[in-house]
Amino acid sequence: MKKILLMVVLYSGATFSCFSQISKVTIQASGLTCSMCSNAINKSLRSISYIDNVIADIRTSTFTISFKENAQVNFDKLKQKVEAAGFFVADFKAFVKFNDVQIAKDTHSKTQGMTFHFLNTKDQLLNGEYWIKVIDKGYVTIKQFKKGEMYTDMECYKTGVAGSCCKTYGLESGTRIFHVSLMPNL
């Protein structure tokens, strides 16, 4: 009960006191064969209107994406663009600005328009810009996704959307939840 209360407090606090801004995303794609394939992903990503620039490291298949000011970044859209080029996302990190957001292990935090479920992360107050790694299905390799199951029992990890496990947080069923872990500063 105490834990549930803590979650509600954390979630409410996160909802009303924070905002986030995403300035950068890095995506590592898997299954590439050549620079032409890398270019296909590059061009596919650049078709998103709010992307400012894409810097591609062909050797590691990594794309560093910056966004136009006040862009509402849609992680799923970025992932779809990699898949549209015929490949998959193997690693997805975002540089997100948090203002006084209290997070706790295996709990949800809502920022402007996005809900994050922090896994394998120490309880702490986030203030500033942090790298987060998305570990949802399709954002990491299948092996890594299975590994993530050890950090939560909640069903939303498998589906990527709010289910009965998320009612405590006042999330409507079907709300998109990004399961993430906090990265050490890169």
């Binding site: 064969t33 050549c34 620079s35 032409m36 296909a40 992903i41 596919s44 050797r59 590691t60 549209a84």
Partner: protein
């Protein structure tokens, strides 16, 4: 021991990616969704009886419909009857149904179907839907990629029909069906390390092309080495040469050189 492991890890991490953009066959992968590719191909084939050269010219359009499906359409022109004239066309559809991707490797499988119409005369007992026969072909492609090297196999069933303009299939009906098989290996030779999209890529490839007609008990096996240049990560130049290792079908034009240019428009619409 630790040094050895670190050394191997560094070596693996410095390998570039392999190549599967084969010259004489299609890989299981598709082109990017919403992309259009244009190709111009010319094959100069040596007529074994007279040592004359016949040219087969094929403009081709490719369309990445979505990440699973791509389409090709091409038109055949040939000067085998004198002046260059249009002799037919084909449509090709490929559906990728297996993708096991990892950072430095992948395994993919696809199904394909090809239909061709041709109004030229039929000279060969071998079925060729890229310029000689009207007919249909369907098959499965499996492609594996590991670092710089790609392997691919292509197994298909071919059925030849009568060509139009009164050019009927001139052989026994049992020769109308055949099985096709292709084994391809490709390796990225240059650049040693990628730094930008403007680097010229050089790929070397070797393909084994075969057809087997079980009813007639006939087969052929060709070897087709080729090299490929990729410019600006969107243009391709292919140069290949195909010749028989074994020709049990007594083909009229079994060997010849191939030249192809390709330009890709990514996110064309």
């Amino acid at each position: 021991m630790r040094g050895l492991i670190i050394g191997i890890s560094l070596f693996i991490s410095h390998l570039s990616y392999g190549q599967e953009l084969f010259v004489y066959s299609e890989p299981a992968s598709n082109m990017s969704s919403k992309s259009i590719g244009l190709r111009l191909k010319n094959e100069s084939l040596l007529r074994s009886s007279s040592n004359e050269i016949t040219n087969m010219f094929q403009p081709e359009v490719m369309w990445g419909v979505n990440r699973y499906l791509m389409l090709h359409a091409d038109v055949f022109f040939s000067n085998r009857s004198g002046a260059f004239k249009e002799e037919g066309m084909s449509l090709y559809m490929k559906y990728r149904f297996v993708s096991r991707d990892d950072i430095h490797s992948h395994f993919r499988m696809a199904l394909f179907v090809k239909g061709a119409i041709n109004k030229g005369p039929i000279n060969d007992r071998a079925i060729n839907l890229s310029g000689d026969n009207s007919g249909i072909e369907t098959g499965v492609i499996a492609t594996a990629l590991t670092n710089k090297v790609a392997f691919s196999s292509n197994l298909s069933f071919l059925h030849a029909a009568n060509n139009s303009s009164g050019h009927k299939f001139p052989f026994d009906d049992k020769r109308k069906n055949a099985l096709g098989g292709i084994l391809s290996i490709g390796k990225l030779m240059l650049p040693k390390e990628y730094t930008n999209y403007k680097q010229v890529n050089l790929n070397a490839m070797v393909e084994l092309l075969s057809q087997w007609n079980p009813s007639a008990g006939e087969t052929y096996l060709d070897l087709a080495p080729s090299i490929q240049f990729i410019f600006l990560s969107k243009m391709r130049l292919d140069v290949g040469y195909r010749f028989p290792l074994y020709d049990g079908m007594d083909r009229v034009t079994p060997k010849g050189a191939l030249l192809r240019i390709e330009y890709n428009f990514f996110n064309a619409y």
